[in-house]
């Protein structure tokens, strides 16, 4: 789940484990993602929210402030602000400043395009704000194949501006793919040049990733390589997203559980609340911040979240010796490739999902809804370019 935590402090009483307690849900989320807009200047082939065009129903500034008020009252310590490209909202700084002055810290993700020296100085002046730049490769060639021409250059320029403004340590975040997994050491070197903290997360077949996942997700050999790389580097943040790799041996640091609707959720730009940022689909929509009682009522009382807090059944993973560490993997990944939620993860390291995946009827997989891709991109098969060769995704 998308959560980076310090180690839990010693348990002083016996009984339920922390993981059991997390499973039953918390009074408020720990890890809340809030996407401020579906507008984006880029069109990354794996965008989890199929962003591109702004949605006319997006929350007004006033409604955003009301969301912050509720988060403050619920003691949500921080929100992960993203999009789309959040800086495309004209009131971006107003919302961020309102949050950070109301005891709601902000960790915000950007592609960096609009992070000019003036914006960097404004960010540097804010307490309780962390910046994260998305960059999906250590070189322009690998990054731009996924994020679009010029996006590497724009991200590097943004990092220069952040460093120049003295923002302090920021994060750079990479989604691991088949094409950048061999660049991880180069990526460390890039981060070190800026004193930046590294975050690497898992690619899920969500949003436009529905179309590109089959060509982008790491191979089994690469998953094993990644697992060893992560075990050797406990300081690299992962948002706890690779827990399915814990089935390979010693568990990776973290809680190793799917936090959807339990400790994690998403507020989308129009105020809809989903179980996790990677399941923007009607089936995982719990309600809206515009409903009576707002976000707090959705979090505490929605039918969907109550059912997600029920104990999991191991389903098809019941006979697997690795279930304790892997928990059957990621719900979003299963859903969007057309597997049952009680099936093994599509990237099950023991290959138990392969026969099930082969049996999924073509065209029967759920499409991400809503889709805000710009019209030119919507509905057109995603084309990945690498080293001059065009690869058609399915």
């Amino acid at each position: 789940m998308p959560l980076d935590v310090a180690a839990p402090v010693g348990r002083v009483t016996k009984g339920e484990t922390l993981v059991d307690q997390m499973r039953a849900g918390l009074d408020a989320p720990i890890c809340l993602t809030w996407e401020l807009t579906y507008a984006c200047n880029l069109a990354c082939v794996h965008c989890l929210s199929s962003s591109g065009r702004r949605d006319p129903r997006e929350l007004s500034t006033h409604e955003c402030f009301a969301v912050v008020d509720q988060l403050r009252d619920m003691q949500v310590f921080y929100v992960n602000i993203g999009g789309g490209e959040p800086m495309l909202r004209r009131d971006f700084f107003d919302v961020v400043e309102y949050a950070t002055t109301n005891q709601v810290g902000v960790k915000f993700s950007t592609n960096g395009t609009y992070l000019d020296p003036a914006a960097a100085r404004r960010l540097a002046a804010l307490d309780y704000l962390d910046v994260q730049i998305s960059l999906d490769g250590a070189t322009a060639e690998v990054n731009d194949a996924v994020r679009g021409d010029g996006s590497f250059r724009a991200a590097i320029a943004a990092m220069d501006h952040l460093a120049g403004a003295g923002v302090g340590p920021f994060k750079i975040s990479l989604v691991v793919t088949r094409h950048n997994v061999d660049q991880l050491d180069g990526y460390v070197a890039l981060a070190d040049r800026y004193g930046a903290q590294l975050r690497v997360t898992r690619l899920r077949p969500s949003g436009r990733g529905v179309g590109s996942w089959h060509d982008l997700h790491p191979t089994q050999a690469q998953q094993r390589q990644l697992y060893r790389w992560l075990l050797d580097r406990p300081n690299v943040l992962t948002g706890d997203s690779f827990f399915h790799l814990s089935a390979l041996g010693d568990p990776l640091p973290g809680l190793n559980l799917c936090g959807a609707g339990r400790v994690v959720c998403l507020i989308d730009p129009v105020g809809d609340v989903y179980a996790c940022p990677f399941v923007i689909h009607d089936e995982f929509r719990a309600g809206s911040v515009r409903d009576d009682g707002g976000f707090a009522a959705v979090w505490r009382r929605s039918e969907l979240f109550s059912s997600l807090r029920e104990p999991d059944s191991p389903g098809a993973c019941a006979s697997c010796g690795s279930y304790d560490s892997c928990q059957g993997g990621c719900m979003a990944a299963k859903f969007f490739v057309g597997l049952d939620l009680s099936d093994p993860d599509p990237e099950c390291v023991h290959d138990h999902a392969a026969p099930l995946l082969a049996a999924v009827a073509p065209g029967s997989t759920p499409q991400s809804s809503p889709d805000h891709s710009r019209r030119a991109a919507a509905g057109v098969p995603v084309t990945l370019r690498r080293s001059g060769t065009a690869v058609r995704s399915r």
């Binding site: 310090a6 402090v9 002083v12 922390l18 009074d27 921080y78």
Partner: protein, 94 residues
């Protein structure tokens, strides 16, 4: 950890009660910790008003036999700067 030392919650730390105890978040170093029982929460909340760690443990009615476990938990919290020793003051005035 010196049980006679006076400690307090770091001023940038917020506690959020949860069914299992509480979450502690440090707005400065951005670390999140889990206080995994209502009792440890009571001890931590009592630090500000207590003249020493020992006094806070007593105020929370923790059996002396279990102090070692609480001391370990408090030491972990000190490591992540959730709680800090109050300089120059000690519970022992002698």
């Amino acid at each position: 950890m010196d049980l006679q030392q006076r400690y307090r919650l770091h001023p940038q730390v917020a506690l959020r009660p949860e069914p299992f105890g509480a979450l502690a978040y440090h707005f400065g170093n951005r670390r999140l910790s889990f206080l995994r029982s209502p009792e440890i929460l009571a001890v931590v909340e009592g630090l500000d008003d207590a003249t020493s760690v020992a006094a806070a443990l007593e105020a929370a009615e923790i059996d002396a036999g279990r102090w070692a476990a609480f001391e370990r938990a408090l030491a972990t919290l000190e490591e992540s700067e959730m709680i800090i020793a109050v300089a120059g003051e000690s519970g022992c005035a002698a």
